[in-house]
């Protein structure tokens, strides 16, 4: 029990980046345990996915044919069976939306200690140490997991994507799926919030977050966007509150944007938001909290009250 088993993630015919990040994380862990790295891909075009996962450091790729798309009832059963077959020390799963939908069930079924959304992992003797965030990212913690076998879900974009080809064995795994235990049905997918504006096409984005406090105050940033000839976008809470439509949301569950200039106003910079805008050429942040994580990726910062800075900025352009 020194091996590592990582479960790939895919959607609509494509392996997702997190699959290749899982390989990197798994390779690091396997190097520490001295075991093999097994990667499994379940459902979809497993033949093509299997070849794509023949990466440097991967010993075995297990392909499991079962339908086209993710179904948590199938995944929970198959991953449990794979775990019993491979007997790994560490089971790595993605902390993606699909990971959230099956990983806890697998951990429960196998009676495994489960540590989720980790941003770094290491092995200290036989103890797994996991780095996680708490309180919305205000602190980082180290958690020691005292168990022989552990289930872990990893946060996206924390490990580099790997694409170095290797010579892993590809083995088809015959899972015994109990169809009577499949009581969920995926009936389709839908793109949300097309709407009038495509923020992913904008050259300049004025983006607003919780710091705006009240819906009425949105007029202030609208005025700024007009003055700068920019497009208005926002972080999640503004869309959740119904103040702006979904097609204006930047982030993991919204749009990925890459403008020339991104002005983040009253946005703290939660990891889900940053995932959607870190590719911007120039990032400007205006926030009263000097420790806000948005400053970690900003090129320019103003630590001040947006209700003072924004009117002054509008004046500059009028």
């Amino acid at each position: 029990m020194t091996d590592v088993l990582a479960i790939a993630d895919h959607r609509r015919g494509e392996l997702r980046d997190i699959s290749f990040e899982l390989v990197t994380a798994g390779r690091e862990l396997a190097a520490e345990t001295g075991g093999d790295l097994h990667v499994a891909v379940i459902s979809g075009d497993t033949e093509r996915f299997g070849e794509q996962l023949q990466l440097d450091g991967v010993d075995t790729v297990h392909t499991v044919e079962d339908g086209e798309e993710f179904n948590h009832d199938v995944y929970a059963q198959v991953v449990t069976q794979l775990f019993d077959a491979v007997e790994p020390q560490f089971l790595l799963m993605p902390n993606s939306v699909n990971g959230l939908d099956y990983a806890p069930a697998v951990a429960n079924r196998l009676g495994l200690a489960y540590v989720s959304d980790v941003v770094d992992i290491g092995v200290d003797g036989s103890t797994l140490t996991a780095t996680r965030e708490m309180y919305g990212g205000k602190v980082e913690t180290t958690t020691a997991v005292e168990a022989d076998q552990v289930a872990v879900s990893i946060r996206g974009a924390e490990w580099p994507v790997t694409d170095d080809t290797g010579d892993a064995d590809i083995e088809a795994f015959e899972a015994d799926v109990d169809e009577s235990a499949v009581r969920s049905t995926v009936t389709g997918f839908e793109e949300v919030g097309g709407g009038d504006v495509d923020i992913s096409e904008a050259d300049v984005l004025v983006s607003i977050g919780r710091g705006i406090e009240e819906e009425e105050n949105l007029d202030l940033v609208r005025d700024l966007a007009d003055a700068l000839d920019a497009t208005l976008s926002s972080s999640r809470p503004i869309v959740d509150a119904g103040w702006l439509p979904k097609n204006r949301q930047v982030g993991q569950s919204g749009k990925v944007v890459t403008p020339d200039v991104y002005i983040a106003i009253g946005i703290s910079g939660a990891v889900q938001h940053v995932a959607g805008m870190k590719g911007s050429d120039t990032i400007v942040a205006i926030n009263t909290d000097p420790n806000a994580p948005i400053y970690d990726i900003a090129d320019y910062g103003i630590v001040d009250d947006l209700f003072d800075v924004v009117p002054a900025l509008i004046e500059e352009f009028e």
């Binding site: 948590h72 929970a76 902390n95 993606s96 939306v97 699909n98 959230l100 939908d101 806890p104 069930a105 951990a107 429960n108 079924r109 009676g111 200690a113 489960y114 140490t129 996680r132 965030e133 708490m134 309180y135 602190v139 980082e140 913690t141 180290t142 958690t143 020691a144 997991v145 005292e146 009581r183 969920s184 049905t185 389709g188 839908e190 949300v192 300049v204 700068l228 959740d240 509150a241 993991q252 569950s253 749009k255 990925v256 200039v261 120039t282 400007v284 942040a285 420790n291 400053y295 970690d296 900003a298 090129d299 320019y300 103003i302 001040d304 800075v309 002054a312 900025l313 500059e316 352009f317």
Partner: protein, 265 residues
């Protein structure tokens, strides 16, 4: 139909704070209802108002102080509440998913709801796992990260939900009841508790339960996870800061933006 909502009191941390060992000093914490759970409560209350749910019960794991938070759920329309706490849980920095699952499983067995609603995650520990783990332990169906629930479908015994995937894509899924749904923010607009609601909440029952009351012992909530360190993340900022008061800062930023060709038209 009975709906059970799991709620959690979470601590919000002030901008400036100090860490004592593996926790944040009490002085810098403010307690509130977990944001995701607020949306779960609202969804349950809406099912009740639509005549689909006959009863909404809120359950929490927390010390006596947490009753303030659970009264918020009662003030918004939950009928009654169950609060589980025990000396065996006192002093744990972190309650792992297995422990929470073991406790909530017993409460669900006692209450026998048709639907359990839970926030996707709690803002303090951020595990994002209890709802799905609980469903699996109960043999219930489930769906995680739900941002729409078709109320009519619930009446017919199948929850038709939308799951919010990454990148602006939603998955349409049907799950058989009984089920646990983990609720994403934005699924609805959580109401503010009315004064009348707050007054009524004072008279609603919050039943305290110990592990023993649920037929559990301390071994059932033994933690395999130990918090060994807590620290402020290192800032990696190499940003250029504009300083000197709002006007001056705005002027410097304006220069930069003009240089980049912004607002040139």
């Amino acid at each position: 139909m009975k709906v059970l909502v799991t709620v959690k009191e979470v601590a919000a941390v002030e901008d400036e704070f100090q860490i004592a060992g593996t926790s944040i000093d009490e002085t810098y914490l403010e307690y509130d209802l977990n944001e995701w759970d607020d949306y779960a409560v609202e969804e349950a209350v809406q099912l009740q108002e639509a005549g689909i749910a006959d009863e909404v019960v809120a359950v929490t794991i927390g010390p006596e102080r947490a009753e303030e938070t659970i009264r918020m759920a009662l003030a918004k329309g939950a009928d009654r509440a169950v609060r589980v706490w025990d000396d065996a849980l006192e002093g744990a920095d972190l309650l792992d998913v297995g422990a929470k699952t073991a406790i909530l499983e017993k409460v669900v067995e006692e209450e026998d709801p048709d639907l359990v609603l839970s926030g996707v995650q709690a803002d303090d520990d951020g595990f994002g796992a209890t709802g799905v783990s609980l469903a699996d332990a109960l043999g219930f169906e489930w769906a995680a990260v739900v941002n729409h629930l078709d109320q009519d479908s619930v009446e017919s015994g199948t929850a038709s939900v939308r799951r919010e995937l990454e990148g602006g894509v939603e998955e349409l899924t049907d799950v058989e009841l009984p089920a646990v749904l983990t609720i994403q923010t934005g699924i609805n607009e959580p109401r503010y508790a009315s004064l009348r609601g707050i007054r009524q909440a004072q008279r609603k029952e919050i039943a305290p339960k110990t592990l023993g009351d649920l037929g559990l012992d301390a071994a059932a909530v033994e933690n395999e996870l130990t918090l060994t360190d807590m620290y402020e993340p290192e800032t990696e900022s190499d940003a250029t800061y504009f300083e000197g008061g709002p006007e001056e800062e705005a002027a410097q930023l304006a220069d930069l933006l003009r240089e980049k060709g912004v607002g040139a038209q």
